[in-house]
Symmetry: C2
Subunit: 244 residues, 2 copies
Amino acid sequence: MLQQNDVNGQCGAYGNGRDHRLLEGIVSNLPLFRNVSPANVALVASQARVEHFRRGALIVQQGAPLPGVIAIAYGLAKLVLPRRKGDERVLRFVGANESFGEAAALLERPCPVDAVALADAMLAVIPVRPLRQLQERDCVFATNLMRALAEGLLGLIADIDANAGRSSTQRLAAYLESLARPDSGAAACAVQLPVTKTALAARLGITKETMSRLLRELKEQRLIAMDRGSITILDRARLAGIAN
Amino acid sequence: MLQQNDVNGQCGAYGNGRDHRLLEGIVSNLPLFRNVSPANVALVASQARVEHFRRGALIVQQGAPLPGVIAIAYGLAKLVLPRRKGDERVLRFVGANESFGEAAALLERPCPVDAVALADAMLAVIPVRPLRQLQERDCVFATNLMRALAEGLLGLIADIDANAGRSSTQRLAAYLESLARPDSGAAACAVQLPVTKTALAARLGITKETMSRLLRELKEQRLIAMDRGSITILDRARLAGIAN
DNA sequence: CGGAATGTTGATTATATTCAACTGTTGTGG
DNA sequence: CCACAACAGTTGAATATAATCAACATTCCG
């Protein structure tokens, strides 16, 4: 592979920036750096770099070394477990001001997932070394890091819980229900799917064909209405009932 | 519930010990406390307590508060996601000198799983407070804790990877293959199932009926031989081939 | 020994996948 | 700006996979 396009090689197509202000802004907005002193943020940011990826581009490949924690400034990415025949399972969507790769980077293990840009994205690569050092010096940061890892772990367990032993209809209903504004009572409520139906299907562990059929069923039962990527939840209570 | 039998209530049936030597021994053998000074181990151990559980007993219930990290001194436990109708999905088996509950305890979140003793077991309950304090003072411990969380996270991802898009035959073959001694080449190799076939089925996300049929198939293909809980791998290469 | 837990087997069925063909949408370069 | 290619979504028919139900055999423990 002559031309490196992922996060391990410098991709020259875009500026591989060292804009300090920019990097400080990105880093300081991460949950990981909440309440960390500006000086420490600046120190870490000074060793980070910016990268740009076009929609569809591979950010990291499963099994490749992870140069550091990846933080998304804008855009959207998916973390996927590739299966054979182009099939894939989406573990998580990562959006602006979120980061991924903490566990693998800190343990210096190969990246367990493919990361793919779902839209043009800008992200920061924060090398492990300064993170390790900061973790040893700054108790606040160390705690943030622990929280992030622990929350990731509980999140994955919740995910497995949601998938195991529930039918695909239940998973879909649960997902749609979770999209509704928490405040909106049982009333009708329009929601936007954050990604394509195909990507959502992969997230829910079903094929796009099955997803299409299930949505049609829900529509026929007057539980939802559909118009492109915009879905209106008509009967939240009954939807939650199906989700079980 | 009058009589508390889980880790949140003192179960009087057994001695609720404060044997300092015992607790120090248990704690110091945990990966979490590797290279932590004896003084710090003693400090933490002094605030822990010992509990005994009979085979089949519920150690913690899903949704219940977790008083601290649970460390197993001897015996075996399973962490399960209960499904309706007595059905369940096993996330992990936890044996002697292993611990669980770090993430939920540190974040003070309800326990995401049921923990059930698979054999008579002795365990230590290590309250969160001293762990937090030690994490702030002792950099070695903080790092151990991070490692444990990060490894747990990567382990779960590997687990999802192994389950997603692989047939149950492949999962079973992969599991059996993983039981074989790493050193034993392609030679036949007798292995012991660490738990009952039913529990193993729940671990692999299949029913005990399916498990029985799959094992029979493997037997008929001369890939394995069976005698009680003892299984002999006859053709490791071909088994690995099936696991794909 | 007796009873509970564990494991086996067959018949039937639910659930979602696969394959294939087709429609609609979007973004790009001529 | 339009044509066209690539992508996203829909639909139907046939199929695979493992679950469920039910009955029975075996093993383990007290």
